[in-house]
Structures are given as structure tokens and as C-alpha cells.
Symmetry: C2
Subunit: 295 residues, 2 copies
């Protein structure tokens, strides 16, 4: 699969995901302001990485990943809610995301909080509307996604992020923070796709390891881009980590060290796909693309 093939794969899936998201969170609804606000962030140019990963994991196990659209869309809603809340003035206080004003800058803090709450709640309603799988498998999957998004996962990661602002944290705390804040939901996405597609224990184990390394590579690349990227491409001011005295993989390991760590994580991720053959080609391309991304 060439980069063009990956880009076509993503384009196709994004079309399906966007259409479905637009049905789950419809335009005409009451009260209008909350639907408008949720849709503003839901359709603000997200790359749909988590739903695509879920689908690609389903493909790798031999099922059509697009048949798990409800669970996939739920993941995107959870991701979007977390961005809205993270951007709030009392959190990271960001005015821009992906080159657009953040939700609270447009709708105010109150509605932004509620839009996040609404998306998080709607995510569970949406995921539980998945029909073509064994009910007990769906329960296991959605429960795992909840755990990954909750206080021991994404929420916990954001807590550590918030609490460590302006403080020097050690490498171990940094790793927990990223694993919880970003890695846990990536991993849940991969595992969800695998479990929904009926993966066996060995496949599930391999895809879990792939997910861990993918998450690590993703975060290191993020830290690198904050130094080497341009505002035009990443859609937010660069160098904000340094200005905010944040500890990152770059500040801990230097730019060259961070690049090496990222390459190592990518190689390790790829290793775990060996037994899947050509069906895992999208997962291979995704992690390769990740390290070469500019945004």
C-alpha cells in the first residue's frame, strides 16, 4: 500500500464517519445551540484517527472494519469532548485548534462544557446502538473504552497534565500522563476493532502491543512538531511547550534523542503486525505515516 493508497483509505472512511456522525448529532434539534456547538467541534477538521484505527484493526482480523461504524463514531465523540474541555480557560486555555477558534471562544465556557458533556454521553448511546455483534462482546468493548476514557485513563492523564503545569516532572510521570491521556484511547480503539471482529487472544495481544508503541510514537512526534513544525501546518502556535516550561520528550531527550525514540517505537509497532499479513497493511502505513507527518 503506497501513501496514496493510505490517503484513499482514509478519505473513504472519513466520508462514512462524517456522514454517520452527522446523523448521530443532527443539525435540526432542540435546544439548537447545543447541537450547533457539538457539531462545531465535531466537524472542525479532525483526522478521525481513532475511528480509522478501529476499522483498520477490524480489517486486520479479517472483517470489514466499516461495519463497526457506531462504536467508531463513539470514539470520535469522546476524543472531541476531551479537546473541548482541555481547551477551556481553566484547563489549557487555548484559543485556537486546527486553525479555528476553540469551542468556548465561539459559544462561551458554559455551553462548551455542556457540549463536551453532551458528546461524551452521546458517545455511549451511539456505541451501544451497534447491532451486528454479540451483545456480550459489545458490552466488553464499550466497558473497556469507558475505562480508557475515565479517571484511570484519559481524564487521569489530563489531571496530571493540569497539576504539573509549571512544575518539573520526571520521565515516569511524563510517560504515565501520555499513556493515560492519549495512549489509552488509541489502545481501546485498536482493541475494540479487534474484539468486534472476533480476534483470538494472540491477535488481541499483538494489536495491544502495536497500540502501545503507536501511542508512544504519536506523542513523541507531537512533542517534536511543537519544536520543528509551523503554525500554518499544525494549526496552533508552535513552541508553546517551551514557553509554558512543559517537560516533553524533546526537553528530556533532546531533539535527536526524541527522533530516535520515535523510530524505535515505530519499528516495535511494525514487529507486532508480522503475523497478520497483507490485511494489516493499513495499520503498517498508519504508523509509518505518523512519524513523517507534519501536523
Amino acid at each position: 500500500m503506497t501513501k496514496n493508497t493510505l490517503s484513499q483509505y482514509c478519505k473513504d472512511k472519513i466520508q462514512l464517519i462524517d456522514k454517520a456522525l452527522s446523523q448521530y448529532i443532527p443539525e435540526q434539534n432542540y435546544p439548537p445551540i447545543i447541537y450547533e456547538s457539538m457539531r462545531y467541534s465535531l466537524f472542525a477538521g479532525g483526522k478521525r484517527l481513532r475511528p480509522i484505527m478501529l476499522m483498520a484493526a477490524g480489517d486486520a482480523v479479517g472483517k470489514d472494519g466499516t461495519s463497526f461504524l457506531p462504536v467508531a463514531c463513539g470514539l470520535e465523540m469522546i476524543h472531541t469532548y476531551s479537546l473541548i474541555h482541555d481547551d477551556l480557560p481553566v484547563m489549557d486555555n487555548d484559543d485556537y485548534r486546527r486553525g479555528k477558534l476553540t469551542n468556548h471562544k465561539v459559544y462561551g465556557d458554559g455551553i462548551a462544557i455542556l457540549a463536551g458533556d453532551g458528546l461524551l454521553t452521546a458517545a455511549f448511546e451511539t456505541m451501544l446502538s451497534q447491532t451486528n455483534v454479540e451483545p456480550q462482546v459489545l458490552i466488553t468493548v464499550v466497558k473497556e473504552i469507558a475505562a480508557a476514557a475515565g479517571p484511570a485513563g484519559m481524564v487521569g492523564g489530563q489531571v496530571v497534565d493540569l497539576e504539573s503545569e509549571g512544575k518539573t516532572i520526571d520521565a515516569k510521570t511524563l510517560e504515565f500522563m501520555h499513556q493515560a491521556k492519549t495512549g489509552a484511547l488509541f489502545k481501546a480503539a485498536l482493541r475494540a476493532g479487534a474484539m468486534l471482529a472476533g480476534a483470538n487472544q494472540e491477535q488481541l495481544r499483538a494489536l495491544s502491543c502495536y497500540a502501545d508503541q503507536f501511542g508512544l510514537a504519536f506523542q513523541i512526534t507531537d512533542d517534536i512538531l511543537d519544536v520543528t513544525g509551523t503554525q500554518e501546518k499544525i494549526g496552533k502556535p508552535v513552541g508553546s511547550d517551551i514557553r509554558n516550561h512543559k517537560v516533553t520528550y524533546v526537553t528530556l531527550h533532546t531533539l535527536e534523542g526524541a527522533k530516535q525514540l520515535a523510530h524505535q517505537a515505530v519499528n516495535s509497532a511494525l514487529c507486532n503486525l508480522n503475523d497478520f499479513g497483507p490485511k494489516a497493511e493499513t495499520l503498517r502505513q498508519l504508523v509509518n505515516h505518523l512519524i513523517n507527518r507534519e501536523a
Copy 2:
């Protein structure tokens, strides 16, 4: 069942609920601050009305309501999250709740938002850990609870509440607001208990109607207590509705008119329990107690 019997019923259930909640959201966990913050509000003296209603509905259908503890506790977590977010400065800006400082006054706005997010997410993980029911029934129940808590339910009600502050709203908008903000989750609690216990269609319909009238009576009584209550008993300043120029059942219908409406709702609620016999005694006592409550 006398009032003392109801009070003993509630005492027994609260003990079970509190013990289970304390296991679901344990004290010793990382990051400690988020668990402390979630527990602060979770154990701030809540009456556990929603989980008790779920259990009482299960009893009414002939099952032991306490066997649905995970779903019941999930409802309490959802209720608690909504209080934390509603109290925030950018929402209702309340410093006290049940006589104690609100979550954000103790932990700051950022952690309070995350404590709410954490409880909402943990609620779904907890509910989906319910084991002694058909998986498909559990899915239906949790999906309905999500819908009741989401943008078309509780979140939507809070949006209307927020948007109508300082404005004059009509009776229809007021009714939507309360139905969505409070009534929807009451109804979901009742219906969840009934469905988990294997209610037939007729029983489910009757309990749904009971729930609608219960929710209405609850809200009217709330509005009445804001005028006739004391801060000592209701745990927050009285008269805040009038000071905030809020439209309430009292401002719309006078105090006497509101009392009549409340009685009418209680009678209608009781009517729907006729076919359940003695097994619905707790539900009868609950709605009777409601209208005589002082807090």
C-alpha cells in the same frame, strides 16, 4: 408501609449503595486528587434517590431491586457529575450544596470539571459491569440512560436553564427544561429497574407514567421549597430563584397554584401503581414523602 418503614428501606439501600460506590471509586488510586474530588461530591450527603427508585421499581416488578446495584450506582454517578458541572461559576455559580462547599470551591474549576467528566465516564463502565441480566437487556437499559442524560435530556435541560437566565420563559419552555433536566433521569431510573427486573409492556408503561408525574411533583416541590424552606434544611440559600429572576412553578402559578399542581401530580403518579399491589408500596411512599419533604 409507614414513613418509618420507608426510612428504614432507604437506610438499608443507602448503606449498600454507599459501600458499592466506595468500591467503584476507590480512595487509594492514581492520580489521587481526582479520586478525592470525585469522592468529595459522591459522599456529600446525597439522598441516593435515583438508585433507590431503580431498586424500588425492580421490587415492584417482583425482583430484588438490590441485585441491580451496578446500574443503580451508575445513575448516582451521573447525577453527581451533573451537580458538579451545574455548580461551576460559568454555570449556576453556586458556592454551597447540601450545606457543604461545592466541588470547585474546594478543588478549583479545572479539577471539578474533570471530576465530573470522570464520574460520567465511570458511570458507564460501572453500569456495564452488571452481570445477572441478559446482555441485550443491559444494552437497552444503559442506552436509554445515556439518552436521558445526554443533549436531548439532562444536558439539554441545563442548556435551556443556562440560556434562559435573566430572561422570561413561558410555561412550555419551563416544562421542557425540568422534564429534560430532572425528569428524564428519574424516568430512566424507574424504567431501568423495571426492564432489568423483566417487566412486561403494561408494567413498563405504567411505571413510565408514574415516573413522569413523580418528576413533575419533584420539580414543583423544589420551586415551592425555594420560597418556603430554610437554608438550614435545604442546605443552600433560599429565595435564590426570585433573586435571579427565575421563572418557576411558583412565579407562574402562585404558591397555592403550585401546591395544587404538585398534589395533582402525586395523585396521578399513585394511580399508575394500582395494578402492582403491595410490591409497589415503596414507590407509593416515595411519592407521598416527596410532597411533604422539607429539603
